[in-house]
C-alpha cells in the first residue's frame, strides 16, 4: 500500500466519519469559551489565563479524538492488512498521525485564532497563539497517538490514555502557556518557542517509531 493511497483513504474515511472530528472541535470550542463566561470579563484575568486555557483545551480535545485514530482500523482488521501490504509501517504511521493533525488540529487552531479575541488577545499575539498551538498540537498528537497505540488491545481504555498523556505533555503545556503569556506582556518569548520547536521535532521523529512498535505488540 502506497503512502499516497493511505492519504486518500484517510481523507475519504474522515469525510464519512465527520461527526468524530466535529465532536472534538465543538468540545474544544465549548471548553475554551466557558472560561470567559465563568470567570467574568475582566481583561487582566482573561489575558493571564488565555495561554493555559488554549493549551489545556487543545490537550483535552486531542485526547478525546485520538481514540479514533487506530481503534476502528484495529477492530475491523485493516490495521493488520496495512502491516502486511506496506513496506515501512512506521512511515505509514507517521503519515496517519500527520493526516490526523491536518484533519483535526488545523481546524482547531483556526477556531482558536477566533476564540483568542474573546480573551482580548489582539494583533501580533493572535499570531503567537496560532504558532504556539501549531507547535504544541504537533507534539500532543504524537504523544496521544503513542498512548492510543498502547491501549489499542484494551477493550475499554477509559481514562488510561489521559493517565499516559497528561504527565508526558506537562512540559508542552507549561512552555506553551509561557510563550503566549510573554507575547501578551510584550516580552521576548523566543525561549519557550525554541523549547516547543525542539519538543515538536523530538516527538514527530520518535513518536511514529514507538507508536508503530506499540501497534505491532498490540496486534501480536
Amino acid at each position: 500500500m502506497l503512502l499516497r493511497d493511505i492519504i486518500r483513504r484517510d481523507v475519504k474515511i474522515s469525510i464519512r466519519r465527520s461527526t468524530d472530528v466535529l465532536t472534538g472541535l465543538i468540545f474544544f470550542l465549548l471548553i475554551a469559551l466557558i472560561f470567559p463566561l465563568a470567570a467574568g470579563t475582566e481583561k487582566d484575568l482573561l489575558l493571564k489565563i488565555v495561554g493555559p486555557v488554549m493549551l489545556i483545551s487543545a490537550l483535552l480535545a486531542s485526547m478525546m479524538s485520538i481514540q479514533n485514530i487506530f481503534k476502528p482500523d484495529y477492530i475491523n482488521g485493516s490495521l493488520e492488512q496495512m502491516m502486511i501490504t506496506t513496506n515501512s509501517f512506521s512511515a505509514l504511521i507517521a503519515v496517519k498521525i500527520m493526516m490526523f493533525w491536518i484533519i483535526f488540529s488545523m481546524p482547531l487552531i483556526l477556531i482558536a485564532s477566533f476564540i483568542a479575541s474573546a480573551y482580548y488577545v489582539t494583533g501580533f499575539s493572535i499570531f503567537t497563539v496560532v504558532l504556539t498551538l501549531v507547535l504544541s498540537t504537533l507534539s500532543l498528537v504524537n504523544l496521544s497517538a503513542f498512548a492510543a497505540s498502547l491501549t489499542l488491545a484494551i477493550r475499554n481504555p477509559g481514562a488510561l490514555i489521559s493517565l499516559i498523556v497528561i504527565p508526558l505533555s506537562l512540559p508542552i503545556i507549561i512552555f506553551g502557556s509561557k510563550a503566549i503569556e510573554y507575547s501578551i506582556l510584550s516580552m521576548d518569548n523566543s525561549g519557550p518557542l525554541y523549547f516547543l520547536t525542539g519538543m515538536m521535532f523530538f516527538t514527530c521523529t520518535l513518536g511514529p517509531l514507538v507508536t508503530a512498535s506499540a501497534i505491532k505488540i498490540s496486534i501480536d
Binding site: M1, R8, I13, I84, T85
Partner: protein, 206 residues
C-alpha cells in the same frame, strides 16, 4: 518455496502449537485443520509475520523471512478472521482503497458478476450481508496478484455456489504457480489440498 522448521508458539507457558514443519512448493495448497482453539489462527498469523513464533523459523527460498521481511510481505495476500474492510465506504471504494489503482478492472467486473455482487457495488459495506462482506474480502485477495495467499477460514458465511466458484479461482491460481495456505475447522466446506496438517493430534498427512 515456503519452509518451516519446528515452529512453536507459547502463550503464558501454554503451548498453542508445536513442531510445525512443512515444505510448500509452487502450485501447492496447504490446509491447517483442527477443531476450534487448536491454534490454526495463531499459526496463520505467524506465517504472515503478525505473530512472532517462540522458536523455529520460517524460510522463503532458503532465507529466513525476517531477514527478507519486506520482500516476503510483498509476496503474500492475507485474509484473516476480520475482513479488514471499512464500514463507511462502499464495496467498490473498499476495493479501490485497499488495492490502489493498479488492478485489472475487467477481472473485477467478472468476479463481481460471479459472486452476484455487481448490483451491490455501490452499497455501503456496513449494509452488506456477512456472506457478501466475506466475498468482498476474497475479491481483494484474488485481485492482489500476490503469489502466496494465506486465508483463515475463507469460506465462512459463503453459499455453495460461491465456494464452487472460488474453487475454480484457486485452481487457476495454483496452476499459475501460486500457493495457498488455508485454515479450516469443518470438513464440509473444504476444497482439495496437497498437504494437510491436522493441529488436533499433530499428525502430518502428505
Amino acid at each position: 518455496m515456503l519452509q518451516t522448521e519446528s515452529l512453536e508458539l507459547f502463550r503464558n507457558d501454554v503451548p498453542i502449537y508445536s513442531n510445525i514443519s512443512f515444505n510448500l512448493i509452487q502450485g501447492q495448497h496447504l490446509v491447517f485443520s483442527g477443531s476450534k482453539g487448536s491454534g490454526k489462527t495463531c499459526l496463520i498469523r505467524t506465517l504472515c509475520c503478525l505473530t512472532n513464533p517462540s522458536s523455529g523459523c520460517i524460510k522463503w527460498n532458503k532465507s529466513n523471512v525476517y531477514s527478507i521481511y519486506n520482500d516476503y510481505l510483498d509476496l503474500i495476500a492475507y485474509l484473516g478472521h476480520k475482513n479488514g474492510l471499512i464500514d463507511e465506504l462502499t464495496l467498490m471504494e473498499n476495493i479501490e482503497v485497499t488495492l490502489g489503482k493498479n488492478f485489472d478492472r475487467s477481472e473485477l467486473t467478472n468476479l463481481l458478476e460471479n459472486f452476484n455482487l455487481f448490483a451491490h457495488k455501490d452499497i455501503l459495506y456496513s449494509n452488506l450481508s456477512n456472506g457478501q462482506k466475506r466475498k468482498t474480502a476474497l475479491i481483494r485477495v484474488i485481485l492482489s496478484s500476490k503469489q502466496l495467499w494465506i486465508m483463515d477460514e475463507p469460506f465462512t458465511n459463503l453459499d455453495v455456489d460461491s465456494i464452487a466458484f472460488i474453487d475454480i479461482i484457486i485452481n487457476s491460481h495454483l496452476n499459475k504457480g501460486g500457493m495457498l495456505i488455508s485454515a479450516s475447522h469443518s470438513p464440509e466446506n473444504r476444497i482439495d489440498c496437497d498437504l494437510e496438517i491436522n493441529l488436533d493430534g499433530m499428525i502430518h498427512v502428505a
